[in-house]
Subunit: 450 residues, 2 copies
């Protein structure tokens, strides 16, 4: 029986493993995971810290025991420290016993995930300065919130995780300051849309220090962090979270000669096979094909990880599957402010060589006379001349952000803005105005592309 | 200056008129409307009755006065009673003065709308038996609810308007019974999905009398309705609303020789021109091309009316525009139960000649650990062999139904279910599970098409 070794028990690794056990070809499947958890929802961690999710175990879709019952040989606290692609073996370090063994494989699945960026600044290892990437990270933050009742939280980084942690600390009753090097939060949006996010966060009472680089962390006599040191001076802090994004974990594979692409992730084809025979990869460690820019991108997101893992599993168990790529769809919220994007921003479109125009409108999520909806801003990016829909961004209240999905399908399908504005989307007063704001925005962009 | 005459001040007629005044070609625009209102939201009427919308004027997007300020010569209480397509004249009856005049046109826009079905049953004209199609209808119902405090409401018809009126009466504190001739409410859904709606309505405390035809209305000595008479016996009623759907108003145009299509609506091409020179039509009075069944359909819906009116207006003011057709997308709610559909149901697909299969799943609107979402059922209809997505239906709680839009774009684009299940839709725990229920459902349908 052929043996599949999976490096990493994250969503991608466990999706691959689970799919293989459901396949038509019998396989031995061994997963080596250096931590204690499998299949946990990293994207749920801020909600555990915020108290929205009460039990950390809720974040674990399937425990190692459950996976074992399904026929997957999961070995936690086991770290793969070397790959020998010639001999088809991996060297595995048992973190508890301290021993190492070599394990053979017929097929290797690399799901090493990503690591949070953690710049080597003075004081970054001080007590009270946290990352937020694993369940133990979240538990340590929660413990400190319970044990030490910090009053002032500083979040470093204004991206998805930064906003989500700002919300979490506010839910726990802390004063929150967000420090971001760039002049706007959510730099994955265009500046005009990021400004709307900034306004909404300030209205929530979150202090924003924008355009401010972090130089280090000052500690008190007790060794606890007491301030974030910036070029603009100190920002007092009883607790700090670094949320600067995630970088693909590729050290292990690079040492084994498995190619890394220009975006920093492991290179695969559409079947998620690396150029090295017998080696597959999936999840936050790989780069994906962006269908609009037609360039490789590294995007750490559970939905891609799950799909890619499933594709690997299908290909390793007698089926054929392809991962068709990504278009940069993303969504988050901070308080009642919803934020979403898909495709390319205006800036990204220009960088990808498109002659792009944009149309932005203010709209509402429901008919003007139906109570309870919210205001939202929709920005549409389109190609001049052809009118091709290149991307969309939404910032608004409740019911705003999930509207991005219809736009995401249209971007995927390379529809024009005129085509989008004529679609048969669902209309009833509690759900939408007669002209959905997404359609008004594409109409406005349509006026500009000509 | 060329003169455009618009028959009907509904959403379609006023959209056409407004678009013409914005166009590059100067035109005289005259609108004849037999009622007192223009541009009112018929779909909002149940929400006025339910007390969700407090002021009837909120349902009027633009009053006749506002339209006049924009350069449109709106004449309310004026009914067009004949069209002479040879002479290019209409005969107009002034309902206040009782006089008639002939008015010439260069271009005629027919926006005569639809009329609610009102079968000639014994007692249908009794006091307390209402239709719900105009603002005066809604005001009469509201007046009766205030003046006579009826206790028991019966809604005849289990479609969109029936469900919405059932909700409205319940919000006003009445006991509600819904009588439907077919064995399920929402017969625009497949039977299995209609059953879910029925269960949810019963759980709300609405009594359902299904598979029961109405034979008439019994009145008391005071002439007020006291019961709905059915084949199954009498259903006590203090107030009754007939919600049996809407039929295109085509008598006027048929008399003028303007062709009616097989679905009962006025025939137009994609520019919304009828086969008769100089005559255009838009809104509930026309039939539309269904892009999946490739057959004409008559669908009374404000979103189509607005789009079609705009297309007419563009074509009459120096631009070129086409209405690309419909795919039968619809959405509604009853209490907290959300209902949506797009494309073809399983039954409709078979009737249209497709070899169709279906996949149905139960899912959730948010990550399993994120509180506050709801359960939902998604049914996907796909073509055997090709895997083409033919249609989708959703029944669920909050956040369920608007998910239909992504599926509507995919149906429109003739995507396959496998393609849909690989899309880059927006994922974050407060908005979606890692695998959105729509993607799980298309995956399940994908397993069946092979």
């Amino acid at each position: 029986m052929e043996r599949v070794v999976v490096i990493g028990g994250d969503a991608a690794g466990m999706s691959a493993a689970a799919q293989i056990t459901r396949g038509v070809e019998p396989r031995e499947v061994v997963v080596f995971e250096r931590g204690e958890y499998t299949s946990f929802a990293a994207c749920g961690l801020p909600y555990f810290v915020g108290g929205v999710v009460a039990d950390r175990d809720d974040l674990v879709a399937r425990s190692p025991e459950q996976h074992r019952k399904n026929g997957i040989d999961v070995r936690t606290r086991h770290e793969v420290i070397a790959i020998d692609t010639e001999a088809r073996e991996v060297e595995v370090h048992d973190l508890d016993s301290g021993t190492s063994t070599r394990e053979r494989y017929d097929h290797l699945v690399v799901a090493t995930g990503g690591s949070p960026l953690r710049p080597p600044l003075p004081g970054i290892d001080a007590a009270g300065v946290f990352g937020i990437h694993t369940i133990p990270d979240a538990v340590r933050i929660d413990d400190m919130l319970r044990d030490r009742s910090p009053r002032r939280a500083v979040v470093v980084g204004g991206g998805y995780i930064g906003l989500e942690m700002a919300e979490a600390f506010q839910l726990r009753g802390l004063e929150v300051t967000l420090v971001e090097k760039l002049p706007q939060p959510m730099s994955t949006l265009d500046v005009d849309m990021g400004a709307r996010v900034a306004d909404a966060m300030r209205a929530m009472g979150i202090e924003l220090r924008l355009g401010v680089g972090v130089e280090g962390f000052a500690t008190g006599d007790d060794g606890q962090v007491r301030a974030v040191v910036t070029a603009d001076g100190e920002v007092p802090a009883d607790i700090v979270v670094i949320g600067l994004g995630v970088r693909p974990n590729t050290k292990l594979t690079a040492e084994a000669g498995i190619p890394i692409g220009p975006s920093g992730g492991i290179v695969t084809d559409a079947r998620m096979a690396t150029p090295v025979d017998g080696v597959w990869a999936a999840g936050d460690c790989v780069e994906s094909f962006h269908r609009v820019s037609r360039r490789p991108v590294s995007i750490a997101l559970g939905t891609h990880a799950n799909k890619q893992g499933r594709v690997v599993g299908l290909n390793l168990s007698g089926s054929h599957a392809r991962f068709p790529g990504v278009i940069g769809t993303a969504i988050t919220k901070v308080g009642s402010v919803e934020i979403a994007r898909t495709g390319l921003t205006e800036r990204e479109a220009a960088a990808a060589g498109f002659d792009a125009v944009a149309g932005t409108i203010e709209g509402a999520s429901r008919a003007h006379y139906y109570p309870g909806g919210s205001a939202l801003t929709v920005k549409i990016v389109a190609e001049r001349g052809s009118g091709r829909l290149l991307g969309a961004q939404i910032v608004g209240g409740v019911e705003a952000a999930k509207r991005i999905d219809a736009l995401a399908v249209a971007v995927w399908e390379e529809m024009t803005v005129d085509e989008f504005s004529q679609l048969d989307l669902a209309y009833a007063p509690p759900f939408s105005p007669v002209w959905d704001p997404t359609m008004i925005a594409t109409r406005k962009a349509g006026d500009k592309v000509r």
